[in-house]
Symmetry: C2
Subunit: 367 residues, 2 copies
DNA sequence: TTCCTTGCCGAAACCGGTTTCGGTCCGCAT
DNA sequence: ATGCGGACCGAAACCGGTTTCGGCAAGGAA
């Protein structure tokens, strides 16, 4: 007559997981049979397969991935190794990216193991260790280099992976990427439409493949509107705020400075704001800026940064999905996706207030 | 006569892991004995224990955590569940924080499993699931609320955890925290020393425990220098750039505006820069600002943001260390650490250029 | 009818560890 | 000499799954 439940005072029994043995007993089948039924082996009658699956669902049975792993070698976990020694590149995206990966993983009953490495050698070691310890069945490789050592290393280990970003030779690789080259090409077209006739480019570090693609996009944009392509207007590189500031100052100090700059990354583009303050000109008027990434800080700047936004949440989601399919055995060639970046127009671009020559005068007189 | 190695053309054998059986065979011992020796059971002679350990080291034996886990229930992995629905709070710290956690975990042969949740209910579900699937032996709980539902839920599950931040009732909890209250108190003292006599405070969201602590610190700082504590100067709250801007405008529009504002978070403090632009005054001169967090964007602002920097890398490291010890059975009461924040002096604080009354005049004439 | 497949499932081995249970061997007290 | 308890280790069970192997019954061909 005493009501059941937590009123008993004692610790409620930690209600053990239901195991495959429980399920087999309940069904009156051998546990091997249950296992094969759940995994869809062909030597199980369709009727009993259904019966098993339904009962498993009803009893809330969930196989213990580690118990499966000891036999199969796979534990339904995807690996992600971050570099911590490089300029804090991925920082702004990381949170959204993780959300995308884990959401997709979770939906498929997978989990995410993350690790970090502080150097190139450590990087490969960490990957090796995770597969040896079976903490990762495969990897998402963020920030692909033009030629990436991780690819060969993982191939040697026989470990599946999917690239975030393409690479120099992506033969046999699965990848997801966002079309930065298209964004850069469009940025040039847009600035040309606004009336700019001297447009500079500040790229990313040459080791990264995205930097190469975006630069290609920029140059193709120039060619498309019939501009020539003077090296001094496209040789700058910057990955940080400070480098972006320096690159902008360098460009402004040219005899004939550009009236617009396309940046490969937002972080560098924000440095242009500091440079503009240094020289007493205004972003969006004397100097137009368009960049790429879509980091939140771009919205706080004054004026807001016009940029091509990459959807990191979506990227994480797709990468996780592709990797899981890759691990399940699909061909790498069938696992490639390219998504567009989205233009977020804020205030950093506009018609040129001055010609390049007038801008040069203005900058010299202010000095 | 054919040289061995990769010249053979065939795939080099994936050199199997060395298992406990290999080790036992090699030593001429039973595998149970080897297991007990490695785990330091008392019924193994010290001499053979040493012999086993040395040989294990030499052969590069590493127990497969999942194989251990199936019997012991633990897999040497620490869990971290991030919220993705709240204002992008932890974003800036995340990268460093993860680096700290994984570095420590890695050193102890542990790994990190991360997941995300988009709501309160999902949050608890995800924790439960990770425990049931044995993907996490315990959790680091970031961003503790004043009263945090995760605590009771994990206690009910019997799962160890360690808080990042203290909480309303931390009895029986292990935690690591950074002394935000001390930082806020020092900020007031510093502004007082500079000559400010009317100092406002913009706090964080009331649900978070850090917000309560920092506000306490601010008020204790006021009391210490003998100021009274008018509610209109400390009732603002802001967690985002936009909210910080609005809060600052509200304060500047008072009949007697403050000449200095202490912010609980950098993100909100950066909003003050926008507000200052709106009103035509300068941060660091007409309005001083000191805040807390140490996000990198603070350095790019003009003038640079003076802030108390929290060392996220260190925090992650300590939290991982504490959690591992907790899981190994140490008492929660012995696992508590408090670290100081470090003042990073940049340009946003200085002697007041105007009195509050003069500032009010100035703001009104500009309007 | 007989033989041979084929479909379907049970039994048992297996994966790599941990833990329980006994069984020697030894020293020591009786 | 006998009995006894403790130190130390081997053998086997166990954890929760997967996979191999073999057996039984039904169905088709001879």
């Amino acid at each position: 007559m005493v009501p059941a439940g937590r009123l008993g005072g004692g610790a409620t029994a930690p209600k053990r997981r239901v195991t495959i043995n429980d399920l087999a007993d309940d069904l009156g089948l051998a546990k091997g049979t249950v296992s094969r039924a759940l995994n869809g082996h062909p030597d199980i009658a369709e009727t009993t397969r259904l019966r098993v699956c339904r009962r498993a669902e009803a009893m809330g049975y969930r196989p213990l991935s580690q118990a499966q792993g000891i036999r199969t070698g796979r534990t339904r976990s995807i690996g992600l190794v971050l570099r911590t020694d490089l300029p804090n590149s991925q920082r702004p995206f990381l949170s959204d990216f993780l959300a995308g990966v884990t959401r997709r993983a979770s939906a498929e009953h997978w989990t995410l193991t993350v690790a970090t490495a502080a150097s190139e050698e450590e990087l490969l070691d960490i990957h090796r260790r995770l597969v040896e310890e079976r903490k990762a069945d495969g990897f998402i490789l963020p920030r692909t280099d033009v030629n990436d050592t991780r690819i060969e290393a993982l191939r040697a280990l026989g470990t599946p992976f999917v690239l975030f970003g393409r690479t120099g030779d992506a033969a046999g690789c699965a990848w997801f990427d966002i079309a930065g080259e298209t964004a850069m090409r469009q940025a040039v077209a847009e600035l040309h439409r606004l009336g700019h006739r001297r447009i500079a480019y500040v790229g990313g570090a040459a080791r990264y493949n995205f930097a190469k693609l975006r630069e290609d996009g920029f140059r193709s944009g120039l060619a498309h509107v019939g501009f020539d392509d003077p090296p001094e207007l496209r040789d700058r590189r910057a990955m940080t705020h400070a480098e972006g500031r320096a690159a902008t100052l360098w460009l402004l100090d040219l005899d004939l400075p550009p009236t617009a700059i396309v940046f490969a990354t937002d972080l560098a583009a924000l440095g242009a704001y500091a440079a503009a303050r240094d020289r007493g000109i205004h972003i969006g008027r004397e100097l137009s800026v368009i960049s790429y990434d879509g980091i939140p800080e771009g919205a706080y700047a004054e004026p807001g940064l016009t940029t091509y936004e990459a959807d990191s949440l979506h990227a994480g989601d797709r990468l996780a999905a592709l990797l899981i399919r890759r691990i399940r055995g699909e061909a790498a060639e069938d696992l490639r996706e390219l998504a567009p970046a989205k233009l977020v127009r804020r205030g950093s671009d506009g018609p040129p207030l001055l010609t390049p020559a007038n801008l040069a005068d203005r900058l010299r007189s202010a000095a």
